[in-house]
Amino acid sequence: MTTTRDQVLLLARRSVVRTWRQPAATVFPLLFPMLLLAVNSGGLRAETHLPGFPTHSFVAFALAVPFIQGALFATMNAGTDLARDVQTGFLNRLSLTPLRGAALLAGQLGGVTVLGVVQACFYLVVGFAAGVRPKAGVGGVAVLLVFAALIALSFGALGAWAALRTGSAEAVQSLFPVFFVFLFISSMNIPRNLIATTWFRDAATANPVSYLLECVRSLIITGWDGEALGLGFGIVAVVGVVALTLAARSLPKRLAR
């Protein structure tokens, strides 16, 4: 009998190899957030002159955004891959082996998590090249990478749940615009306390994505901020637990055996 660990590693490796072999799945999540960062940094640089803006570098402020966009791509990758496995019957094939359901989910998400960390490293390197130096130092970078891994895992689990529920790659991909709306009505481009429009400030305050951004941002531009870290990690944990629970509940129906 293969151990659960072997099964997880095998499927995580497959997930990474699959993504690596799809240039669109590899290049787009790396380049698109960087292009958006470049455009926003150029166009919104004047914001740094606003009283109360937390940094003089808009790149440092906006570098948090790619981390969250990376999570969206993780959601799409995990979900789309799993849905394709359902559609092609590959999941049925896996069902006929002694594969444990938990290993299937963990393997799939393990691969997505690895890719999430690779993306985060890339974003950090670009940030370094643009002169950004995380205020929380080397330890902060390590925490940032752990956070990126958890975001990829949690949002990947959401994608996996959608895939297991619907069995359709198209349905999973239709989530993308929904997540993007959450991103745009957050503190993505301006700190919440500087948002002048009340309804937008309220929406951004109610939006959990704001706290994920602020968690990353705190490590880059503030240093060690316990409240921001607690909120960010707390939200990721809640999303992760809920999404994993939902995915784990949907799995037995798909692995009907």
Partner: protein
């Protein structure tokens, strides 16, 4: 070996919500080392039966034992003994053929040193050694089917389920797959449960055939016995002009004359062996014949006789 590679069902039924009974109280008995052809048209219940027998779909009534184990209660034991290539080749387009086999070998818990060897052996057997390191998305339909079969064989199953394995394949790929399936049964003693909509496939490969229609088995037996059951072969003779008058009299000695649009036809009382006697009699009487043809009953005739419809021309389930 006991019931080690047999398949038995009793009253096996699958009913879907808001739908008809896909499989309706079927009783099957497939013996060890046998190739059992499960023949039927679109939506007859073939694939649903396979899904139940492979533990992927629970029956709503009845029982099924595969390799001596109950499919509903002893799924892991069943799965350890079976291999399956389901209707669509279940492959990952982004992995290579070799990667597929190594993945399967690992998940099937083959000892680490054997995984590569087994993959190479199967790639060789299904004729994919040359394409082993190419991504599957570049494979032809026949190559995908052969890889699918190889994956089903990784853990040396004693029972193999093949759900319409040759649908959509060209003649050459179909023949290659038939050869491999026959070899598995004859040389390795693997029991093969094969669903098909191709009459010639069931005829050429299966030791026994079960014909399913609307979820029920309507006929079962060896292809020969099924054909014999519905009628004896006929010989159709188209005489040259000068022998015309005598042919009907002569043929009537060998059985009942049946209508023929082109010449004279007789249903042979003695079966196919009567053909030689007909030829000898025609020769002895000096009858000149333009064309002579033996018509054997086909499985389509069997299907027609049992259901009132022809199986020819139906699409895949």
């Amino acid at each position: 070996m006991g019931r080690a590679n047999t398949i038995e069902t009793q009253g096996l039924t699958r009913e879907f919500k808001k739908g008809p009974r896909a499989v309706d109280m079927i009783d099957l008995q497939v013996e060890a080392g046998e190739i059992y052809g499960f023949l039927g048209p679109n939506g007859a219940g073939k694939s649903t039966t396979v899904l139940m027998l492979t533990t992927l779909l629970p029956p709503t009534a009845g029982t099924a034992r595969v390799a001596g184990f109950d499919v509903a209660r002893e799924g892991p034991k069943v799965r350890a003994r079976i291999g399956a290539a389901l209707q669509e080749a279940a492959l990952d387009p982004l992995l290579t053929g070799r990667e597929h086999l190594r993945l399967q070998a690992t998940l099937q818990a083959l000892p680490r040193p054997d995984r590569g060897t087994r993959a190479d052996e199967l790639l060789e057997r299904v004729g994919l050694s040359g394409a082993a390191d190419r991504k599957v998305r570049g494979y032809s339909g026949g190559m995908k089917r052969r890889l699918d079969l190889a994956m089903a064989l990784v853990h040396r199953p004693t029972i193999l389920f093949l759900d319409e394995p040759t649908t959509g394949l060209d003649v050459q790929s179909r023949a290659a797959l038939w050869e491999e399936v026959a070899r598995l049964a004859r040389e390795d003693g693997v029991t093969v449960f094969l669903t098909t909509q191709y009459l010639e496939e069931a005829d050429a490969l299966a030791d026994r055939v079960g014909i399913i229609d609307h979820g029920k088995i309507v006929a079962e037996g060896t292809p020969e016995s099924l054909k014999a059951e519905i009628g004896r072969p006929t010989v159709e003779v188209i005489p040259s002009a000068d022998g015309d008058g005598r042919v009907a009299d002569l043929l009537s000695r060998f059985g009942e004359l049946v209508p023929s649009a082109r010449g004279v036809a007789v249903r042979l009382d003695g079966g196919e062996t009567g053909l030689a006697a007909v030829v000898r009699a025609l020769d002895a009487d000096g009858v000149s014949v333009e064309h002579l043809e033996l018509h054997r009953p086909s499985l389509d005739d069997v299907f027609l006789a049992k259901t009132g419809r022809s199986l020819e021309g139906h699409g895949a389930e």
